[in-house]
Amino acid sequence: MAVTLDQTIAQKQHSFLSRLFSTQTFWVVIAVILACIFLSFATDAFATSKNLYNITRNITFVAIIALGMTFVIITGGIDLSVGSVLCLSSMVLAVTMHAGYSIEIGILASIATALAIGAFNGILIAYLGFPPFVVTLGMLSIARSLAMVASNNTVVFQFGPDHDKLLALGGGAWVFGIANPVLYMILLALITGFILRWTKFGRHIFAIGGNEHAATLTGVPVKQIKVAVYMISALSAGIAGIIQTGWLGAVTTNLGTGMELQVIAATVIGGANLAGGVGTAFGAIVGAALIEVIRNSLGLLGINAFWQGVFIGGAILLAVLFDRIRNFRRSD
């Protein structure tokens, strides 16, 4: 039977399953599940509600920033300043509230600071053509220094009249005993996923990462979108900073040191491609989860904590290795 042109055009080449199996995120999910099953049998402490509560909560701070970072990485950029922005936002919140202002004003100041830094990064990158690596590396240094200036390099642990509200915001468990940070993470992941899949803005982010020149030629507002993604990334760091402040109950100027690397690791493990054009919200969460499960399991299995870096680094390489193998097969 002859196949008509219309039939060919209407044909879906890939079924849902074949697409699922071809994603890196799927295999990382399998890895996380297998690790959890193994750990539940291998140790008594893993599958306890207390440990699971800890794991899910520990995932959140890296995961929330990884969601913001996903936007940047899809456009083919990178944001190294998130750890310092987290620290600065926390410090602005802490100092504002310590000075006697309400939690609302504290959060507003903190978010505004994060957005201003994101806008600064974005404008330098999009309009002045600075390389993202250099701009955000500079900001990594600047933001942490500003946090030290703001607090005179002291620890802030008294948050004025709304002290308890802030601690409840970050440390409470308002719904079904799930830690609040986890709820925020789920909410933000849903929003991120929605933006990436269903909005014009999301589509344009992928287009910029795929072929920036083509995006410009077809009338995509490339510069504005680039500024927006760095603002989103900084905003996610700011939000994580606020939540972490509430959870820890104290802010020091070394908060979030080295966090940018964990965040980038999480997005890459979750399937985002540093060359741009690929990435998902779910992947960012799963990547953060794998890192945390590895870290948690090493502790429970009684392996020296010094080995942590080896296992996490190995996971990064392994995740990308899968991607390479798939590409080799495709190019054959």
Binding site: G209, H213, L217, G277
Partner: protein, 247 residues
Amino acid sequence: MAVLELTNISKHFGAIQAVNDVSLSIEPGQVVGLMGDNGAGKSTLVKMIAGNFHASHGIMRMDGKELILNKPAEARQHGIEIVHQDLALCNNLTAAANVYLGRELRRGVGPFRILDYAAMYKRAGQLFAELKSETRPRDLVKQMSGGQRQAVAIARTMLSQAKIVLMDEPTAAISVRQVAEVLNLIRHLRDQGIAVVLISHRMPDVFDVADRVIVMRRGRKVADKTIASSSPEEVTGLITGAIEQVS
């Protein structure tokens, strides 16, 4: 009436005179081959029509009305579409997403509008069927052949009611079979009454598909005649300068 008319158009960059006093007019449904050696001013001329550059002197008219373009988006609003030499495709997106890039269809109310995947797949599929190209709207462009990629880039120009399509070296880097496909796509556009400007180095393609040929050399228009009244030998002579000028 001419769909596009250029009168005494010049463009200089500092001391360099890229385009010098060029006048031409293009009728609807006409395929015009624009030929010339590298640096002859073809791309500069096309970029002025596409809204990338302002002309230093001269007037452009579309359907008799003066046309002033400040950016490429405005050219598109006036029905001027471009198929870029590198096609301007995003490999990581589907064919349909590329067709609609920069003017995605959305559904919903007010600020709550989401991408209308179904409508975009459907319309892109119709365009590929019209172009007689075996291109699936859901496939990623990265997996496509040169001819299919051309079809995606050309389908883009058919989304809105284009009046004139500028094609920059569409047959430069593809196989012989695919060249035939692309020339068919051009005829298809012509049959719909769309004017096509084909910028090309390839003599056989121009003589195969064009109605008229315009030759440029060192910024000047040196020939503008019907294909029937010219020959590849004459055009070659005009491009190289062996023949000074014909009228």
